[in-house]
Symmetry: C2
Subunit: 282 residues, 2 copies
């Protein structure tokens, strides 16, 4: 497995593989890999000849006062996990390599898709995500890029960017991977103390009960949102950032559940903010 720290060298390496006609898969990550990330790598191995995993805790997608400094990192463990999955290359640049001191170009998706949910809670977050992903796409030249459905809004925003700006690649969405007890895998889960870890199960439980209510015939989005909130608030340490239902394609508001919808949650347990979601089709 090759490890690259420099943009120029991995870009040349990827160009060479493209010239050989090889299909490149990219798995962008912020490291501290868990089973969810490894599932992305496995899916990439199934579809592509060459799999590149980027590991970069991207400063531009963190706001002031967010957890950039304390975001968990373990490069040694990450690379040994990726070796085991037969990833072909790791791209792990420094922040200085990715953002020169006079860096001033941004890729931004505007509109509801970036102003709702995490866009409302984390101003500038998606501008950081789209900018770094545009850079990673230009550097690694993937035919396919693999993202987890756990970050449902992120993948929607990136698909919009690809379509609008005609990037020559496609995104493959990979389903959420959960712990045995239902908690969605996240690098941030290690930040939870034992009590919060237990209470965090409420996210998946709320989504499951809401989904069941919809399958049982409930079509009123407002009532489902009340249900989500009631279940989450049964956990004393849960502090809701949002618990929303939107159109699954463009995050448009909906009153009646009459199409594919996204139920999306962001809940804080102390300083740790967790997200989870479910797509429901009626």
């Amino acid at each position: 497995m090759r490890i690259f720290k420099e943009i120029q060298s991995i870009q040349n390496w990827c160009k060479e593989h493209k010239l050989q006609g090889r299909k490149i898969g990219l798995v962008p990550t912020m490291g501290y890999l868990h089973e969810g990330h490894l599932e992305l790598v496995r899916e990439a191995k199934r579809h592509c000849d060459i799999v590149v995993v980027s590991i970069f805790v991207n400063p531009t997608q963190f706001g002031a006062g967010e957890d950039f400094e304390v975001y968990p990192r373990d490069f040694e463990r990450d690379t040994s996990l990726l070796e085991r999955e037969n990833a072909d290359a790791v791209f792990a640049p420094t922040a200085e390599e990715m953002y020169l001191s006079d860096f001033s170009s941004w890729v931004e998706v505007t509109g509801e898709i970036t102003t709702k949910l995490c866009g409302a809670s984390r101003p500038g977050h998606f501008r950081g995500v789209t900018t770094v992903c545009a850079k990673l796409f230009n550097i690694c030249l993937p035919d396919l890029a693999f993202f987890g459905q756990k970050d449902a809004q992120q993948v929607m925003v990136l698909e919009k960017m690809l379509t609008d700006l005609n990037f020559p690649l496609q995104i493959i969405r990979v389903p959420i991977v959960r712990e045995a007890d239902g908690l969605a895998m996240s690098s941030r889960n290690v930040c939870l103390d034992a009590e919060a870890r237990e209470q965090a199960l409420v996210l998946n439980r709320a989504l499951g009960q809401a989904e069941r209510a919809i399958k049982d015939g409930e079509r009123d989005a407002a009532r489902i949102k009340v249900l989500l909130r009631e279940i989450i608030e049964s956990s004393p340490r849960a502090e809701i950032d949002y618990a929303e239902i939107y159109d699954a394609y463009d995050l448009a508001d909906i009153q009646q559940i009459d199409r594919k919808i996204l139920m999306a949650l962001a809940v804080k347990f102390g300083k740790t903010r967790l997200i989870d979601n479910r797509l429901v089709e009626v």
Copy 2:
């Protein structure tokens, strides 16, 4: 010469050529081609195996009240000129093909480089330029893209975008092509009446005299700017938008001419706004 109207078909065609190991050159234009454009095509033919010329009057780089509607167009003439230069393909999409009704993604270079000169006179102009060029680069997958030095600020902004966002291509700057009497070639020159056409010579004359003054030892930027203005204002119909001197690399302000500088002019003759510039190294 192939003519493409659809993004998907030219993108596939270019991907195929890349797989064959061919070097692609892109010449982005707004059509109504003149000798300056053709020089870009010739330079592209010298460097590349496949030359694609895009013809697209890009609505997003025109402001309200600017000349988008009356910008000159002549597709038949353009394609016959390009046939003669042995261009390999023309990409001429409609505005609807390039901008779907829910289009909402933008590429933007921020800072002085886009807020001075044409950025000050034409708010949003460079955001339109960088967005459409990012799209064209993603669609046509060039190894090299060719731009005229006539649009000096545009090429600076695009080079900044390429560097910051790691686009896998390079820009080749091609010198300004002038009419026999010194007027910089521009598709907008046809909009000048005979008197304005005559008076428009003042742009090149002002740049020439200012360059001579610098070569003769003048180092005070303010005095050179006064000289530029005096010469231009000797033309009764010339209305100065700007006549400035900046650092040639990043458009930083300068007092002393002690490095490579850009002298840049934008002057209106009635409704027609012309630009011209000169790089001077001391």
